[in-house]
């Protein structure tokens, strides 16, 4: 669990030029981070999105351990999206060991539990953390006072996400039932069928959620982003696919590091993702990227809900990521429902794996964006080297770019309003700072 210490934002009065606004600990984001902005002559001169959680050294911790340890250890990087780490590490190990999950129940269970994580994570962020920004309220407790039914709906949906994790993953927090090759125990048909009625209600709740979010006023801001996401020919990519972008790059997982890497910057303890070449270095992962690149793979109901919410097939306003999370929540509910209805118990809960030397890659769509893993194993299946690139690390540069643009266009706002707008901009990315230190104190310095 990350430590998010609530500290009051401090804003320095306009002393003499330049003007500085400072937030020493960002609220409503996961982990610890800060933001510093300096403005002179009505020009943003410097933006630093600073992550100050200590680096976690998970990669070093994995060296020498058996391949089977990687899913559970890396899942501890984050309390919010353990399934992303469990699945990405398992996939990479399966590739290294030369096995694949066959189409059928094991494959479906992995996708279904991942849908649970999307529902849980998207609903928590959208309802409890991001929606207050659009309602002009400090937090979800204020929303609960003014609109109890809204918060009740959010809690109901999140509870369903938790149930999916409990039934398939063994428990809602840090699931224990996933492993390389599949699961320790496959749920019974009765256990999965019991999810059908609540999932049917969740589809209705998700539609109501999208209608609610569509009524919000979204700040005007757009950019020509380089979107990067997984893509699958048939379904909206979650747990598998090729890594594609909207500039024509279409990669197998093994090719990813030839085109994407990480930079270390002095103001952050986390590495920052970079795209090499003409369209970099900053790129965007997460809901906006997935939606733009895989719109065609969404369901007819998602398309209808998006149209009714006034959404285009590509959304370039990062504040509208809230709407995209609503659409993705609907998709995850529909998809989990489809899989639950078709579930039959597998012959065995996992495919057998035999240790051997090899290299494997894994990449899945964590709720915040692609999470990439690479491992090398020795003859006995021990980990020789590991590399993990978390979604928030990859989004850091684009968050800084957005902040620069948003501040530049909103210089007429007073310090308090500008500070809030900056925090809202960061929350567009649902940044998971724990994962990226692998984020926030806000300082705006202006004259």
């Amino acid at each position: 669990m990350s430590a998010l210490e609530t500290a009051a934002a401090s804003i320095s009065p306009n002393p003499s030029p330049p003007r500085i606004i400072k937030v020493d600990a960002l609220a409503r984001v996961e982990g610890e981070g800060a933001l510093y902005v300096r403005v002179r002559d009505r020009q943003v001169q410097d933006i630093k999105f600073r992550i100050y959680e200590p680096p976690r050294f998970f990669e070093g911790l994995l060296k020498g351990r058996p391949f089977s340890d990687a899913p559970d250890i890396t899942a501890r990087i984050c309390g919010i999206c353990p399934i992303a780490y469990l699945t990405g590490a398992s996939q990479a190990m399966e590739m290294a060991l030369g096995v694949t999950l066959p189409p059928g129940p094991l494959h479906d269970l992995r996708r279904m539990v991942y849908c649970g994580e999307w529902i849980q994570s998207h609903v928590l962020h959208a309802y409890m953390l991001h929606a207050p920004d659009f309602l002009g309220m400090a937090d979800a407790i204020e929303i609960a006072r003014a609109h109890p039914g809204v918060v009740e709906r959010g809690l109901r949906m999140k509870q369903l996400g938790n149930r999916l994790l409990e039934v398939i993953g063994g428990r809602a927090c840090h699931p224990v039932n996933l492993k390389v090759g599949g699961f320790y125990r496959a749920p019974t048909v009765a256990e999965i069928r019991a999810l059908i009625a609540p999932l049917e209600r969740a589809v209705e709740d998700a539609l109501e959620t999208i209608r609610l979010f569509a009524s919000f006023d979204f700040p005007n801001y757009e950019d020509d982003y380089t979107f990067v996401a997984l893509k699958h020919p048939e379904v909206y990519a979650i747990e598998e696919g090729r890594i594609v972008n909207n500039r024509g790059l279409d990669l197998e997982l093994a090719e990813f590091e030839r085109h994407y890497g990480e930079d270390h910057v002095a103001h952050s303890t986390a590495l920052q993702g970079v795209l090499y070449g003409d369209h970099g270095p900053a790129y965007l992962v997460g809901p906006l990227a997935r939606y733009a690149l895989s719109y065609d793979q969404l369901t007819p109901l998602c398309h209808q809900a998006a149209r009714e919410a006034g959404m285009a097939p590509v959304e370039r306003n990062p504040f509208r990521s809230l709407l995209v999370r609503g659409i993705e929540t609907l998709y995850a509910c529909e998809e989990a429902l489809r899989l639950a209805k078709g579930y039959e118990e597998p012959d065995r809960p996992a495919v057998p794996v035999t240790p051997r030397a090899g290299r494997g890659f894994g990449c899945t769509e964590a709720p915040r964006g692609i999470c990439y893993h690479r491992y090398d194993l020795d003859d006995e299946g021990r980990i020789l080297s590991a590399r993990i690139m978390s979604p928030t690390a990859q989004n850091q540069k684009i968050i800084e770019a957005d902040l620069k643009g948003v501040v530049q266009r909103n210089l007429d706002l007073d310090d308090e309003a500008l500070k809030w707008r900056c925090e809202q901009t960061i929350r567009n990315y649902d940044p998971c700072i724990s994962c990226s230190t692998h984020v926030l104190t806000l300082t705006v310095d202006r004259d």
């Binding site: 669990m1 990350s2 430590a3 979800a140 109890p148």
Partner: protein, 147 residues
């Protein structure tokens, strides 16, 4: 029947104290679950329970091992004291949201042990471990009639 909810991360030193206490109480036959401290998940966890005890780590500026106790059904909780505050919707936010929505259990006590270290590791500082041991004994005696 009483439900104990141990909150925290056993891999973050003193942050693991709530989980440690919950496991010890479970070993003595109490119904106990572990949670990360994310508030909405807590509301879910205590749904239907009549008596709930939440154990967490605290960062209130007191001496390590200091025990803070709150009767959450009577007291509005201070924010920023409890260690586990995922995405800033943590224990205090979960409890206050539940209060607004009328979803608090009939009895809800919160015990928070002041921690000192929250780095990477599974060892608790001696003062915190000692306080955790005392809390287990106290809770075993308090809950005797509830099991």
């Amino acid at each position: 029947m009483v439900l104990v909810i141990g909150v925290g991360n056993e891999y973050r030193e003193d942050d693991g104290v709530g989980v440690w206490v919950a496991r010890r109480l479970a070993a003595h036959g109490l119904r106990a679950v572990e949670r990360s401290g994310e508030g909405a998940g807590l509301i879910d966890a205590w749904s239907g329970a009549a008596r709930v005890i939440v154990v967490d780590a605290a960062t209130a500026g007191a001496a390590p091992g200091t025990l803070h106790r709150f009767d959450a059904t009577r007291t509005v909780l201070p924010r920023g004291v409890f260690r586990c505050s995922s995405h800033d919707f943590g224990v205090a936010e979960g409890i206050e949201t539940a209060r607004v929505l009328g979803r608090l259990p009939p009895a809800l006590e919160l015990y928070a042990i002041e921690g000192a270290r929250f780095g990477h590791g599974t060892e608790m500082t001696p003062a915190v471990a000692a306080a955790a041991g005392r809390l287990v004994d106290d809770l075993l005696s308090v809950t005797e009639g509830w099991r």
